[in-house]
């Protein structure tokens, strides 16, 4: 499922870009709390998609594609550390007390996320840190995007109200002092790669003015607040967030915990995929005496307009049967064939293979039922898939 999400995203990079030509300009009003229309978008994830896409300027198509999927984006949102612009947009107009409260609201969601590995999160937040300067905060976490904060605010307001109030005191006083620093940093980040943005912007305060996009990071409670460790922490969180996504993509990785084992699995998987490509290309080279099969397929496909449906078929053999006579198909319903396919296939190449299959009569004598049955009996059957029957009917 997740792999499909990823591929979905990868498949429509252009569409996404076309649909949001100026993502940030629309975001400005979105994040303005004073605007009556708080939610331009339907869901958090959609907004996150914009932010993710905007954030990674270096690969504009890859990351929007990567994160276009709502599920993916939601997961990434929990772990991600961007969204500063939302803060900046917020702090511009409203009174200072409102934003910290709201921004603090975002934090508990982040704080409760297991992936961020908050230290000292259980202890009560009302306690002030001994010896903490004016600039230090009681708790810190990666600031989340406002959309997620907003939607979660109603449920979380009570939980974080006290936290917010505590922050409030601290946030107001050093705000002006940090303003210049933030602006300077924001200018820096304009030129930086997005990967480094988190590291560069380790401000403890939201500036009152909306600088360009940069990442807010707060020092965690009980942690050192110097810039290096903050940057380290942000970097680590980013890495762990991405590792989680990898975990979803690589089959069999969910049971494994720990970076070393997971990396091991990933390495094995990548190697196996590469070897499979080699093997399959060799197999294809040996099966086709010439490329004529592929060429004829190509010609056929251009002449056919096949419907873009979802075929949860995961073998080519049933696809063959689709295009034969109805009589054959009726009989074939009872002999569903599917090849063993370890990878979960959401939509197979039904369309391509259908094109291929339809071309066969031109090259070979027409199939008869007996031929197909004999193929079946040759041991081609590995599994029978129930839903294939229904899909075959749909295709009719």
């Amino acid at each position: 499922m997740d792999k499909q999400h990823y591929l979905m995203n990868a498949g429509i990079p252009l569409q996404i870009e076309a649909s949001m030509p100026i993502p940030w300009s629309s975001d400005q009003s979105f994040f303005n709390p004073n605007s009556s229309v708080d939610h331009h978008f339907d869901s958090d994830a959609f907004a996150l998609r914009h932010l993710i896409g905007k954030l990674d300027r270096s690969s504009p198509a890859a990351l929007p594609s990567l994160a276009a999927d709502p599920g993916f984006a939601e997961r990434a949102a929990k772990f991600s550390c961007f969204g500063s612009r939302s803060f900046n947009g917020r702090t511009s107009s409203p009174p200072g007390s409102a934003t910290p409260g709201q921004s603090m609201v975002a934090l508990p969601r982040v704080a409760s996320s297991p992936s961020l590995k908050l230290n000292g999160s259980p202890p009560p937040r009302n306690r002030k840190l001994p010896g903490s300067g004016a600039n230090s905060n009681e708790e810190s976490s990666v600031s989340e995007q406002i959309p997620s904060g907003e939607t979660g605010s109603n449920s979380r307001k009570r939980k974080s109200a006290s936290r917010g109030k505590n922050k409030d005191h601290r946030s107001n006083s050093p705000k002006e002092a940090e303003e210049d620093e933030n602006l300077k940093r924001s200018k820096q980040t304009e030129n930086c790669e997005n990967e480094q943005e988190c590291n560069e912007n380790k401000t403890n305060q939201k500036p009152p003015e909306p600088p360009k996009d940069y990442i807010h990071v707060r020092a965690r409670r009980g942690q050192a607040t110097d810039s290096h460790s903050l940057a380290e922490r942000v970097r680590r969180e980013k890495i762990s967030e991405r590792m989680k996504l990898l975990q979803d993509l690589v089959p069999g990785c969910n049971k494994v915990t720990g970076k070393a084992l997971m990396l091991d699995e990933i390495i094995n998987y990548v190697q196996s995929l590469q070897r499979q490509v080699e093997f399959l290309s060799m197999k294809l080279a040996s099966v086709n005496p010439d490329m004529e099969n592929l060429l004829s397929k190509d010609m056929y496909q251009q002449s056919t307009s096949l419907p873009q449906q979802m075929y949860p078929l995961d073998s080519s053999s049933p696809a063959y049967y689709h295009h034969h006579q109805n009589v054959q198909q009726q009989q074939l319903h009872s002999t569903n064939i599917s090849s063993v396919d370890p990878l979960p296939l959401d939509a197979s190449l039904g369309i391509q293979i259908d094109g291929f299959a339809q071309n066969l009569p031109q090259q070979f004598p027409a199939f008869t039922e007996d031929d197909l049955h004999s193929i079946v009996q040759m041991g081609f059957i590995h599994n029978t898939v129930q839903n294939q029957t229904s899909n075959m009917k749909v295709e009719l």
């Binding site: 499922m1 792999k3 499909q4 990823y6 591929l7 979905m8 990868a10 498949g11 429509i12 690969s59 198509a61 990351l63 990567l66 599920g71 790669e193 980013k238 890495i239 991405r242 996504l245 990898l246 070393a260 990396l263 990933i266 390495i267 990548v270 995929l273 490509v277 080699e278 399959l280 290309s281 197999k283 294809l284 080279a285 099966v287 086709n288 490329m291 592929l294 060429l295 873009q308 979802m310 073998s315 080519s316 053999s317 696809a319 090849s339 990878l343 296939l345 197979s348 190449l349 369309i351 391509q352 293979i353 291929f356 299959a357 070979f364 199939f367 031929d371 004999s374 193929i375 040759m378």
Partner: protein, 184 residues
């Protein structure tokens, strides 16, 4: 949701498939008779360029694949790759990549001293080694730093899955056809 995600992955697969066929067509136009190894190389190269082109040079690995092909390919391969990509390949080697430069940071840990045998340090070393191994698997690994590595791995794995899917289906179809040929 399922439909949309499946349909878009289907789109990726179709895009890959058409590009791949394009490349193979060019190969077969060049020489009708190819040895099996030549065919295999042709298939693999076309597939690699096709799957890299589906990313439109947005990821590091796809750029690296294209760069590798453009520097080492000749004749039919080059033309096939150009056709798939829709553009001319740069023939001269690029001296300084405009992309990321990896700054080797002096490891402060080395300065910190001798407590190396602790469990955490050993674990860190293991993880670091594995990261290095993973890095070398991905095309264009020289330019990947740690954060990019994981992102590139994500993208690369997904693309490899698409490639393997398509190829496997094609191989199955071809095999079935072959068997039918035997029967008839």
């Amino acid at each position: 949701m399922q439909n949309s995600s499946s349909s878009s992955s289907l789109m990726v697969k179709q895009e890959f498939f058409t590009k791949w066929k394009k490349g193979l067509k060019i190969y077969s136009a060049f020489n009708k008779e190819m040895t099996i190894m030549e065919r295999k190389r042709a298939i693999k190269l076309s597939a690699d360029v096709a799957i890299a082109s589906t990313r439109s040079a947005t990821t590091q690995w796809s750029r690296a694949v294209v760069a590798e092909v453009s520097s080492s390919a000749a004749g039919a391969a080059r033309i096939a790759a150009e056709e798939i990509l829709g553009r001319k390949l740069s023939t001269e080697r690029r001296k300084a990549q405009a992309g990321k430069k990896i700054v080797r940071r002096r490891r402060k840990a080395a300065a910190r001293g001798a407590v190396r045998s602790s469990a955490a340090a050993v674990a860190k070393k293991v993880v670091r080694n594995r990261r290095r191994v993973l890095k070398r698997l991905i095309p264009g690994w020289k330019k990947l730093d740690e954060i990019c590595l994981i992102k590139e791995t994500l993208d690369y794995i997904a693309s490899l899955q698409v490639q393997v899917d398509v190829m496997r289906h094609l191989a199955n179809a071809g095999e079935t056809l072959h068997h039918q040929q035997i029967l008839l």
